[in-house]
């Protein structure tokens, strides 16, 4: 069976600095992986490189998505193939209503896959249904994308997109940052509702707290641009008790 995501010996530079020094991990359909690690360990860089953000230079290794070379694709092609990055800091886009943005994005992905565009009533029904489950009022969708949204609303808007696009790989970049417990629970419930045997999730976080809500199958500890330890969900609890210091030494 082809793995959903294979990262092999990935080396990445930003300007003159190497951030990832040979990172390897494999994610199969249905699995939830957590990536933990201190600031500057390269977690966000990994998520950005998978999504195709400009400004990163891949100097070695490869990323295969369903067996295809992901690094050869533009960010929008990756999205159409089923890669979704939930941003740590979702941007605000004044002047573009959330509804218009969602429809444009869904239809762009469908078009890229050779599927027909959604009919407006079908699309609206779908959005209404998902928004209700995430406690997102329809009024919010008439406003500019993320404009005036609270931190929790922005993250729920990311989960809303995930539910509409139905990607096969979801990368959640520090979804817990800036969220209170209630907001975190709503967002996490939304994510859990999307768990399925043919969808994988990579949850990037500093803290174990998020993993109480989104329970991972695998936990990886990153330090200095490498995965320094992998284990089951109990590894996260262990980290909470011991901290990252020991791994930083290992990496050095």
């Amino acid at each position: 069976m082809t793995a959903l995501l294979e990262v092999k010996d990935l080396q990445v530079r930003v300007e003159d600095r190497e951030i990832l020094h040979g990172l390897t991990m494999t994610v199969n359909g249905g699995e939830v992986h957590a990536i933990m690690g201190p600031n500057g360990s390269g977690k966000s860089t990994l998520s950005h490189v998978i999504a195709g953000k400009p400004g990163y230079e891949v100097t070695g290794g490869e990323i295969l998505f369903k067996g295809e070379d992901l690094l050869e694709m533009d960010p929008d092609e990756r999205a159409a193939k089923g890669v979704f990055l939930a941003f740590q800091y979702p941007v605000e886009i004044p002047g573009v209503t959330t509804m218009n943005f969602l429809r444009t994005a869904v239809n762009a992905q469908r078009k890229a896959r050779g599927e027909s565009e959604y009919l407006v009533p079908d699309f609206l029904r779908k959005v209404r249904e998902v928004a209700a489950s995430l406690n997102i009022p329809m009024d919010m969708l008439k406003r500019g994308v993320n404009v005036g949204f609270s931190g929790g609303e922005k993250k729920r808007n990311e989960v809303l997109q995930m539910a509409l696009f139905q990607p096969s790989l979801c990368i959640l970049d520090e979804m817990d940052s800036g969220l209170d417990i209630d907001a975190l629970r709503i967002a996490a419930d939304g994510v859990n509702a999307l768990r399925s045997p043919d969808r994988a999730m990579v949850v990037i976080t500093h803290y174990q707290r998020l993993l109480n809500y989104i329970i991972p199958d695998h936990v990886h500890v990153m330090s200095n641009g490498r995965v320094v330890k992998s284990g089951g969900k109990e590894l996260a609890l262990e980290l909470e008790a011991t901290g990252y210091a020991q791994y930083e030494e290992v990496a050095a």
Partner: protein, 439 residues
Amino acid sequence: MNVALAKTTTGAALDGTFAAARGRLPGVGTVAETRQQAFDDFARTGLPTRRIEEWKYTDLRNLLRDVAPLAPAPDQPALAQAARLVEGLGTGDTQKLVIVDGVFAAGLSDLTSGGGVTVHALSAMLDDATSATRADLLRSRIVDPMIALNAAFATDGMLIDIADDAAPARPLHVVHVATRPSVAAFTRSLVRIGNRARVTLVESFVATEAAKAYQAHDAVVIWIGDDSDLQHVRVMEDAGDAANIATAIVTVGARTKFNTFSLTTGGGVSRYQSFITMAGVDSELSTNSVHLLRDKQHGDCTFVIDHAAPNCFSRELFRAVLDDRAHSVFQGRINVHQIAQKTDGKMMSRALLLSDEAEIDNKPELEIFADDVQCGHGATIGALDDSLLFYLRARGLPEKAAQALLIQAFVGEALESIVNDDLRDVAISAAERWLESRA
């Protein structure tokens, strides 16, 4: 020094053009005298150069070189092509008044009068020897070489009268169609709006495939009475190598609202200069202008707002999206007369540069003679935000589509200012046509 000696070769050649055209220009007697006077006024300077302060950034002698010969009156095939273009405008139910190559096309127009609206072709009014005031149709209160040139050569246009209390159900829609290459059309329209009237006026500039490198010279003079409301929308989609030099002269009465929107996507060289006088108390002016330009297009948007009465409010918003080597000019001048206390006048220019070689010149000017006023101006210039572009692309939008969405958002505020739904859609589709042609 003799003025004639200072003429350029261009000026001398134009003497011939005027002499040749004279036979075709409507109006004799006082009208012909007014034309000659206007031509002499123009000839003293010729096409404006950068040495004239008001034209500093739009040097027409350099950009146009010459005034093209007068367009011949349209023949049947030209009228048929124009009819097809007008049908395709998709402006909903408007009262169309069509001018083809500078000549009013009665067969394509709806001259229905009634409900307080009276419409005439300008040429007929200029030819009306019984009118003592017909020469006034060519006069204006603004001194400017291009307005003078327009008065000298104007072949046709509309004279529209809106009676007191009138509220025509359909927008009045003046459509200018160019069908021929390398010629010039000169048009002039007058709109007189009474008191307590509510009117929507639309102007479109379009061209057939065959029309290349032509010149459209237009002037519109508008008087709005007291307690009235004029919604004005102008969409200029002339050929990319054509010139469009246009003037609006507007006098606004008391307690009146004037909301004007203009979109420029066409024209290799264009200038739309508006002289708006707030002549009565408690009136409101809102101007929204959008340039969407590319290649080597040069677009100039110039406003001179005179606050000549107390307690008026004016807002000018200008937005430019410039690609390739396009060049945009925004000049905004607000004159607050001594009597115009409690004036609130502001202008804002925002430019989005899509290429390193695009250029914008902003020239705000405030001249204030009253002591209790609020006036201001601002300008921003920027590129598309990379983080927004990446967010959209990560959601599946290809590069051009992501750019298009952000550009739409950038001009959206100006487009939203159009009150009439149908007309807003027309402006939005014109903007979309521009965006799609980028892809």
